[in-house]
């Protein structure tokens, strides 16, 4: 195996572990943001285990996608699985949409469409300090409908924030259904380019493609970068991909057990 292939394989194993954690978190109460967690797993693996350095920041604007971050932080040893299985339960610190101050969450996301502004502030702050700290901001396609996102995008390019990477979770669904039917946001890359970003679409389920895109972003000078990630809701669990193309999943325990089996079968096949 080449060195690159070795890294890919290790990161794929991470992504698989993250997906398992996502399903176990939802199984606790029989509900949760499973679609988002599963579809962001590969991105989380690359971001947290290949890209981020100590002084970089992750800004999760899409608060309800916290499940993916929690699962990645479990891999980093920040949270125990036992605690993560209390996801969304009364009195639990593992909230479905956590606030700033919850370990691993630098801002309060979830009142959607606000995160990119704080990411711009952080990127400016790092630059003013003379630090090479980088900021990775995750927003959903639905969030792109909020005007504030575009105010922030304008500011990011006006200030030449090449230490900022916008990661768009373009899963093409939102609360009321297909994004294209609710309020079209495409063509996202062209819009971002017009706003001064270096923007491109990425297959976020290809580890090598993600790594190459991050590499390119790191070597882009003078302007912010954007990776428009064509995420597949429920990715890794074929029955979820087929039938749970929804904002929120509620299902009895057997469904989660079966999903875990499906996931493991897929991982065995990959290996």
């Amino acid at each position: 195996m080449t060195a690159g292939a070795q890294v890919t394989s290790t990161l794929e194993q991470r992504a698989h572990a993250i997906r398992r954690t996502v399903l176990r978190m939802c199984r606790g109460r029989g509900q949760g943001y499973a679609g988002q967690g599963l579809s962001l797993a590969d991105l989380m693996a690359v971001l947290y285990f290949d890209e981020l350095r100590d002084h970089d920041h992750v800004v999760l604007s899409t608060g309800h996608s916290a499940i993916a971050v929690f699962a990645a932080l479990h891999e980093q040893g920040v949270y125990e699985l036992e605690e993560l299985e209390t996801y969304g339960m009364d009195g639990s610190r593992i909230e479905e949409s956590p606030l700033e101050g919850t370990p691993g969450f630098e801002i309060t996301g979830g009142s959607l469409g606000q995160g990119l502004s704080q990411a711009v502030g952080m990127a400016l702050g790092e630059r003013i300090k003379g630090s090479d700290g980088r900021v990775y901001c995750i927003v959903s396609d639905g969030e792109l409908q909020e005007g504030q996102v575009w105010e922030a995008a304008m500011a990011a390019s006006h200030h030449g924030l090449d230490n900022l990477v916008l990661l768009v979770d373009n899963n093409r669904i939102q609360a009321d259904g297909d994004t294209a039917a609710v309020m079209g946001v495409e063509p996202i890359p062209a819009k971002l380019v017009a706003f001064g970003f270096a923007a491109r679409r990425v297959d976020p389920h290809s580890i090598p493609e993600l790594r190459a895109a991050f590499e390119e972003a790191r070597s882009t000078a003078g302007r912010p970068s954007a990776l428009v990630c064509e995420t597949v809701p429920g990715r890794g669990v074929p029955s979820f991909e087929a039938s749970q193309r929804v904002h929120y999943v509620r299902a009895p325990r057997e469904v989660w057990d079966r999903a875990l089996e499906e996931l493991d079968r897929g991982e065995q096949a990959r290996r």
Partner: protein, 300 residues
Amino acid sequence: MSAVAPPLVEAPFATALVELGRRRDDVVVLSADLSRYTDVLPFAEEFPRRFVQCGMAEANMMGIAGGLAKTGFLPIAVTYGVFATRRAYDQLAMALATGPSRGIVVAFLPGITTPFRATHQAIDDLALMRALPGMTVVDPADATELTAAVVFAEAQPGPVYLRGLRGAVPRLLDEADGLPTREVRSGAGAALISTGLGTQWALEAAALVDAAVLHVPVLKPIDAVAVAAFCRRYETVTTVENHSTVGGLGTAVSEVVASGGLGTRVHALGVPDAWAPAGSLQHIRAELGLDAESIARRAA
């Protein structure tokens, strides 16, 4: 407390909205990516041309509603309370509340009726809306009042902010003319004044200590005569609301008592001046001392 659970009415707002749509062809309903979650789908299905999906863009939705008002329609902008107010406050104020044109805003997930924390709990919406000149502010207690509130809102001359309850909503109150401030329970153990879901909680508590309950569905303009008449009878009244104790019912009652020189002590229960916890309604109520037993104890 009565052992019999109150009857539930399925999606009373959806029904009231459809009825209004059939009665008035100038009613247009707007949603910001929450039509599935705010009981407006039946209206959207029956009147697709009078339903405007704005996407997740609340500030823009208020502006679009304002434009519809200027072209002769009665816009009803429906979303969660927290986003209708904090996210789109200026737009709501300028587009719908400076008059002479006007609109209705219906705000779901009032107070602590959401499992999420600060991001979704509309604990300051009544305060914000009360502060807007000319705004009528309504917090219905049950299915009867939510239905009546739609008719009431439609008949007002100015802008209306109406809190919504979704899905199966209990029916606690008898029908009445309009939305009267009324004593919904008499009793000698304590004096409670409540609004919205707070009235459900107050009634639960009142059953434990035989309290009187004055229900105030319209916070602004408040029925100062009825509130003063009730307060005059007591040394202390306890207000109960599904909202911050800053700026909502407790404040409105205090204003009536102070400006009338009544001297009654007002003890305000609600979400204290701190961000409330996340979780089920039952859990949050217990944490905030708003479960029936705690209210009864704090009011007695």
